[in-house]
């Protein structure tokens, strides 16, 4: 062989592997999109130096996928080329296999592209007939002859009557052929005969064959057979049966049975000897065919005792230990549908019921699939009305014993599926109370031991409901599940919460099931979500799914408090933003929408939620090894620059509504009265009035709104992996002395951006505090991260505000200050008075006070012996100071406050003034 030839073969070998790979990878159609590929392939087929196996493979690929790359204009060219290749190669013995595949491919393409009635089609048929009908004793050409017969069978099958003109040739072939290809010839003859008789007898040829049939009709009359000749042909074909494989027997008897149906002169009893001979066959194809013939000609072929015998053999066949289980399963299905009643699933043949019923009881040696099938058959043996009698019920429930024990001890998925299907088979047909109680007990026991079977059990009861909508069993079993879930131990919940939630989800949609225990269970789950499931998105949404069903089914009145508590808990504490958001949405619905509105909103999403449950909860399993996108990853270092830029305590301007409150009016009114406060004659009254003024002032404070406005700047640190982050959520942890702060959300933050944020801190008590902060954010890879931000402090000084009054006269201020002092130190139980001596001069004190306390100074006159400072500490507390010089270089500071707990901080504050003023460096 030349070097060039070797290279060519190598290339083809490589391309043969490529073709094989592209078939496996599903990319073969792309190759055929190239319109030249088919012709390139044909060129290769012409080459002599290409291996036969490669040629055959290429021809098969053309047969399978060629029609994707061949259009109607080039099909005749392709088929002609294939015929040409066939004619070139058929002379050589070693090329017989390639020749066979060439005519198979040509025939297949001809039929696929509907070219049978074209010139090229006729050429193909003519060539095939000449090959099939040639009489030769050369064994090496027999395979080609058989192949031609098979091609012609396909053609006749696609276009009935097309080969009728060759009937005589085929008949002669059958008579003369002696080799094993006789069965191919018999099959061809039987097919042609079948179609001939049907076309003569009926007028129902397929529409697409009309043009062909018109020709056929003319030919039919030319080649008509008289009934005697037809009968002789049929008998001669039947005589060939022993020479045929069981598959060929099937095809021939199929053709003949159709023929018999159209020719009354030929009795179906022609099949009887064959049936009686093979009734006890071990061959599934033969047995199947016998059953089919018996069904087709019921009462016409076998007598009743013979039919009973056939069914007895079928029973033996489906039980025989030597028959493989898959074939036994097929046999059981034939038995199930043997009876041709309108409701084919309703019953088994009487012979089976009366004589072979116990032979269908599952055996300990049967595999699981056979057990299931036999349970099904057992359920078909009995009528529903017999079920309360006891014996039949005992048999049915007894037939489950093996499967039940297997599930109980193994807890395996496939066995469990078979067990629940077996239960369903029984219950579907026999939903008596007797059976029902037994089934309920079995399921109850099973899921209490194996909660992983809750989804199976839920599916079971759902199927029951769809089959018997009026039955109360659904609710009864569901109630049992519900009861079982709500009394589960902590350990059980930790392991099986996802199954329990599925049960609760279903129970939540049942009005008859009391919902409060469900909510308590959900609350427990949420409280322990971090330990149970790391506060997963899945758990959160499963809980909310139950909430949704409860809201839809039970409305809001009944569950308002418990549901509200639960949703509030989730929206404030659950560690998943998406879950929080959804909980918030439900919370808003619960608190703000009518039941009707809630139903209309949530019911619309039921279908979507259900599919989501199917699609995500079941596909993304809890134990999946893939990283969960919902999981928040904690970063060790801070990704942001987080600075507090300003802090400003403030009293909020009264709203219109607030301005009209009684307290404010009284306080302002009192202020007006104080315009006459210099009138000494009214001193006592004034004193009373001052007391009254303080009381009103304190009432006013009760309604006063204050806040400390904190301004921050946040920026993404440079030189990080994150160039841009999304959904930044900043959380500020506050002490108990402040109201909780809402999380701050920033949609997007990139490295070039500096975002300013204003946070309102609402104090409950004016106590200095340190605030820790954290941020959660998403990166471009869709993972969620969290990191700590630098903490920030609030000192006592940063709470200081002047007293919130609106009378403008100093004396009045003094008087009010004194009244307030007296009120604090005497009247209230919480007030406290103290004195602090500062070792500084008056000048030094004044300098420091000017910087820190100026806005709170009551008396501006410098000649007075005491300087007074009235400090309002939001939201409603006071710090009153009286500063007096003693011994020239010391200041005595008298302190009064209505919040004793800040005294320590006041002391520190005053100390800081002393230190600051005495140390010039600190001062600067």
């Amino acid at each position: 062989m030349s070097r060039q030839t070797t290279q060519s073969q190598d290339q083809l070998q490589a391309s043969s592997f490529e073709l094989r790979d592209s078939i496996i990878n599903g990319t073969i159609l792309k190759i055929f999109q190239d319109s030249y590929f088919v012709f390139d392939a044909l060129k290769v087929l012409y080459e002599d130096d290409v291996d036969s196996a490669d040629k055959i493979e290429l021809l098969i690929v053309l047969e399978e996928y060629g029609h994707h790359g061949i259009d109607s204009e080039s099909i005749d060219q392709v088929i002609t080329s294939l015929l040409d290749i066939f004619h070139q190669l058929r002379g050589a013995e070693e090329n017989q296999s390639v020749c066979c595949q060439a005519i198979i491919t040509a025939t297949s393409l001809l039929l696929q592209m509907e070219q049978l009635h074209t010139e090229v089609g006729k050429t193909v048929v003519s060539d095939l007939v000449s090959v099939a009908a040639m009489y030769t004793s050369q064994p090496e050409t027999k395979r080609l002859q058989a192949c031609a017969c098979q091609c012609l069978i396909q053609i006749e099958d696609f276009s009935p009557g097309f080969l009728i003109s060759h009937k005589a040739a085929f008949l002669k072939l059958v008579q003369q052929e002696r080799s094993d290809i006789i069965q191919d010839c018999v099959l061809l003859l039987a097919k042609v005969m079948e179609n001939y008789v049907i076309l003569i007898d009926t007028d129902t040829a397929p529409t697409e064959m009309v043009s062909g049939r018109q020709i056929t009709k003319q030919i039919l009359h030319q080649f008509s057979l008289d009934p005697t000749e037809l009968r002789q042909t049929v008998f001669s074909v039947m005589e060939m049966i022993p020479l045929l494989t069981t598959f060929a027997v099937w095809k021939v008897t199929h053709s003949l049975s159709r023929l018999v149906q159209h020719v009354p002169e030929i009795s179906p009893t022609i099949f009887k000897p064959m049936i009686l001979q093979h009734m006890a066959t071990i061959d599934c194809t033969m047995l199947h065919r016998i059953l089919q013939i018996q069904r087709e000609f019921e009462g016409e072929v076998l007598t009743s005792p013979e039919e009973s015998q056939l069914l007895d053999h079928l029973t033996i066949f489906v039980n025989h230990p030597c028959i493989v289980p898959a074939i036994r399963l097929l046999g059981l299905q034939w038995m199930q549908h043997y009876k041709q009643s309108p409701d084919i699933s309703s019953s088994l043949p009487a012979r089976i019921k009366q004589h072979n019923s116990m032979k269908l009881f599952p055996s300990v040696f049967d595999p699981v699939e056979c057990h299931l099938m036999k349970v099904k058959m057992n359920s078909l043996l009995y009528e529903s009305k017999d079920m309360d009698a006891g014996v039949e019920s005992a048999v049915l429930m007894g037939s489950l014993g093996y499967l039940h024990k297997l599930v109980w001890h193994t807890g395996r998925g496939k066995t469990a599926i078979a067990f629940f299907r077996a239960l369903f088979c029984i219950y579907e047909r026999h939903h008596s109370s007797f059976i029902s109680k037994d089934i309920q007990r079995l399921i109850q026991e099973l899921i209490s031991e194996f909660p992983q079977f809750i989804p199976h059990a839920l599916d079971f009861i759902e199927c029951l409901r769809s089959n018997t909508p009026d039955s109360s069993v659904y609710v009864e079993i569901l109630s049992q599940f519900h009861q079982q879930v709500i009394i589960a131990t902590e350990e059980q919940i930790a392991y099986c919460y996802d199954f329990y939630l599925q049960a609760l989800n279903r129970a939540a949609s049942e009005k008859a099931i009391f919902p409060i225990p469900t909510l308590k269970f959900l609350h427990y789950l949420c409280e322990h979500a971090s330990q149970i499931a790391d506060s997963s998105w899945q758990l959160g949404h499963a809980v909310l799914s139950v909430c949704r069903n409860l809201l839809i089914c039970h409305g809001t009145n009944f569950l308002y408090t418990e549901m509200g508590d639960l949703l509030y808990y989730i929206m404030t504490t659950y560690h998943d933003v998406d879950v929080q958001d959804k909980a918030k949405f439900y919370y808003v619905l619960l608190t703000g929408a009518s039941d009707y509105k809630i139903k209309s909103i949530l019911a619309d999403t039921t279908y979507g939620a259900h599919t989501m449950h199917q699609a995500i909860s079941t596909i993304l399993m809890p134990d999946t090894k893939q990283d969960s996108l919902a999981q928040i990853r904690k970063l060790d270092s801070c990704m942001f620059t987080w600075k507090r830029s300003a802090l400003c305590p403030m009293i909020l301007p009264p709203t219109g509504k607030q301005g009209n409150t009684t307290a404010e009016k009284n306080f302002n009114k009192q202020g007006d009265v104080q315009s006459d406060e210099n009138d000494n004659s009214k001193e006592d009254e004034r004193s009373d009035g001052e007391n009254g003024s303080v009381e009103n002032y304190l009432k006013y404070l009760e309604e006063l709104e204050t806040k400390i406005e904190a301004k921050f700047a946040i920026k993404l640190k440079p030189d990080l992996d994150f160039k841009k982050v999304h959904a930044v959520s900043i959380h500020i942890n506050v002490s108990l002395d402040f109201k909780p702060v809402k999380d701050i959300h920033i949609p997007c933050l990139d490295q070039s951006e500096d975002v300013n944020i204003v946070v309102d801190l609402i104090p409950i008590k004016p106590v200095p505090a340190t605030f820790t902060c954290s941020a959660t954010f998403c990166c471009d890879r869709k993972f969620t991260f969290s990191c700590d931000l630098p903490s920030f402090n609030i000192s006592l000084l940063e709470f200081f505000l002047p007293l919130p009054w609106n009378c403008g006269k100093n004396l009045s201020k003094m008087a009010f200050f004194n009244s307030l002092w007296n009120r604090i130190v005497t009247d209230t139980g919480h007030g406290i008075e103290s004195v602090k001596i500062l070792p500084i001069t008056r000048t030094q004190f004044n300098q420091a006070a000017e910087e820190k306390l100026q806005q709170c100074q009551i008396n501006k006159e410098t000649d007075l012996p005491e300087t007074m400072y009235g400090i309002f500490l939001p939201p409603k507390y006071h710090l009153l100071l009286k500063c007096k010089v003693i011994d020239m270089d010391r200041i005595a500071v008298s302190i009064a406050t209505d919040l004793s707990t800040i005294l320590l901080h006041v002391d520190k504050f005053l100390e800081s003034i002393a230190t600051c003023t005495s140390d010039p460096e600190n001062k600067t």
Partner: protein
């Protein structure tokens, strides 16, 4: 009765952690076209091969999710079980009826053409394609059995060739592997005489000396509990195989299945016969018929060339279990103490080719040590040290016909061993069984044998005859009397003789 397509798929391997993959596919476009016409708008096209494999694995439970989680679309109670027929979900709809045969890590599957339209979901009795497709897949599996999985891909041309001859145009015609191989290799056959036609199932006619080999292989399977309330179960059944190498196109052989004067001399309940059988006494003995004589059964057949199963039978009237026994085991986490007692029935021939009791220890670590005291035979461990093997030898003690074993077995830590897929999940704690393997040559429990004198061949010729028989155990279990056991017991109330039932569970 034809196929639209056929696939061979390698399953994912738990051991080697290799993903499953498609090894071979064959589409028969003419029947795809016919199905398209039959189904009309309901037609579901064949998915691309990768999608097909994915859907198949999902349906069979070999996807990554496995069977551990309930998936309603696959596992619902309402989904009709039609094994070996499956329905797989594709993006274009449900593909049905997919016939699946699973063997040694390979899935062979095919999609038959449904003349009525697949969407009408006709019962399987109306679908010849399913039965024929199943037979073709089994034949293909047999054909490829000697080929290692790694070489299947390279065997693609051979598979194509096999299918072309076994099922031209996807329509099964001959599934006898030997016969198909003869056609594939185009082995020349004898030129037949004018008076005879060569059968389609016999493409090659033997040339040479004439031999007839007939073998009766009788099996016994039993489950023994040794509990008062549960009866032991024992089935005796058999197969008669034949290989006839005769230089004749269609010779006729007649044999008589008789009963020797040993064993229990039990009548055969029936015969299930090979399609080559021309006539046979296949009558069924009614189990409620009382005492029945063990009459000989005559079978006349025209054999194919290769070894084939002439017939199957059962012998449910066998009264005695051949080897009775008791298996008692006390187990804790690291150690088990066990006692076994076996007794051979006096009617059973005490001459074994082998007799071996295997005690597998499932869901435990390998055996670290064992202290066994058999009163007869010897002890050994399986190579993986998971099975304690008691080799009883060729004979039971002739005086007592009884053997005993006591043993203490210590186990290594299970956590150091990977879980084995061979472990029976049922066998945990005290749940355990011992399995007996034995073979007695030249013996059958039922007494059935082929009488060499009865063999007749037509046309008359010289031939060498060999008729053998053997008795072999198959699934012969003794459950631990201290544990639980799998059983399926017919309620006693229904096993009265008048019910016409086989009293198999109540012997």
């Amino acid at each position: 009765m034809s196929l639209q397509a056929l696939w061979i798929v390698q399953l994912p391997s738990a051991c080697t952690r290799k993903d499953g993959r498609l090894l071979f596919s064959r589409i028969y476009p003419t029947y795809v076209k016919k199905e398209k016409i039959a189904d009309g708008i309901h037609y579901v096209p064949l998915p691309p091969n990768p999608d097909f494999v994915k859907s198949l694995f999902f349906e069979l439970g070999y996807s990554k999710e496995g069977m551990a989680h309930f998936i309603a679309a696959r596992d619902s109670c309402q989904k009709e079980t039609q094994n070996p027929v499956y329905e797989i979900a594709t993006s274009a709809g449900k593909l049905w009826p997919l016939v699946v045969v699973e063997q040694y890590g390979i899935v062979f599957c095919c999609l038959p053409y449904v003349e009525q339209g697949a969407h009408t979901r006709p019962p399987l009795i109306d679908l010849p394609g399913v039965t024929q497709g199943f037979s073709l897949l089994c034949a293909l599996a047999d054909f490829l059995r000697p080929v290692p999985h790694t070489e299947l891909y390279q065997k693609t041309p051979d598979i194509y060739s096999f299918l072309t001859h076994a099922a031209p145009f996807g329509s099964p015609l001959d599934t006898n592997v030997e016969s198909v191989i003869a056609k594939m290799t185009n082995r020349p056959s004898l030129v037949v005489t004018k008076s005879q036609k060569q059968p389609g199932w016999k493409p090659v006619i033997h040339k040479g000396k004439n031999h007839i080999y007939l073998s009766v292989t009788e099996y016994v399977r039993a489950v023994q509990y040794d509990w008062d309330d549960v009866a032991n179960v024992c089935d005796v059944f058999g197969t008669i195989s034949c290989k006839a190498e005769i230089e004749c196109v269609m010779p006729e052989i007649t044999v008589t299945i008789s009963h020797a004067a040993e064993g229990e001399i039990t009548p055969l309940d029936h015969l299930l016969i090979h399609p080559c059988v021309q006539s046979a006494d296949t009558s069924i003995i009614d189990t409620g018929a009382g005492q029945v004589r063990a009459n000989p059964r005559r079978v006349r057949f025209s054999p194919p060339n290769d070894m084939f199963t002439l017939c199957h039978y059962t012998a449910s009237r066998v009264q005695e279990i051949p080897i009775t026994g008791c298996f008692e085991m006390f187990a804790d986490e690291k150690k088990v103490n066990l006692k076994v007692k076996l007794k051979l029935h006096e009617k059973i021939k005490n001459q074994f080719e082998y007799c071996e009791l295997q005690i597998p220890f499932h869901n435990r670590g390998p055996i670290a040590s064992h202290d066994s005291l058999p009163n007869h035979g010897s002890m050994m461990l399986s190579p993986d040290r998971k099975v304690l093997v008691w080799n009883i030898g060729q004979r039971f003690p002739s005086k007592t016909l009884e053997v005993n074993l006591t043993a203490t077995v210590q186990f290594a830590d299970l956590s150091k061993q990977p879980a084995s897929p061979q472990d029976d999940p049922f066998c945990v704690g005290q749940n355990a069984y011992a399995q007996l393997y034995f073979k007695i040559p030249d013996f059958t429990h039922s007494g059935c044998y082929i009488d060499p004198k009865s063999v007749q061949v037509s046309p008359s010729m010289k031939y060498k005859l060999m008729a053998v028989r053997e008795y072999i155990s198959k699934e012969y279990k003794f459950w631990n009397i201290q544990g639980d056991a799998l059983r399926s017991v017919i309620p006693k109330c229904l096993t009265a003789p008048n019910n016409g039932t086989i009293d198999s569970d109540e012997k």
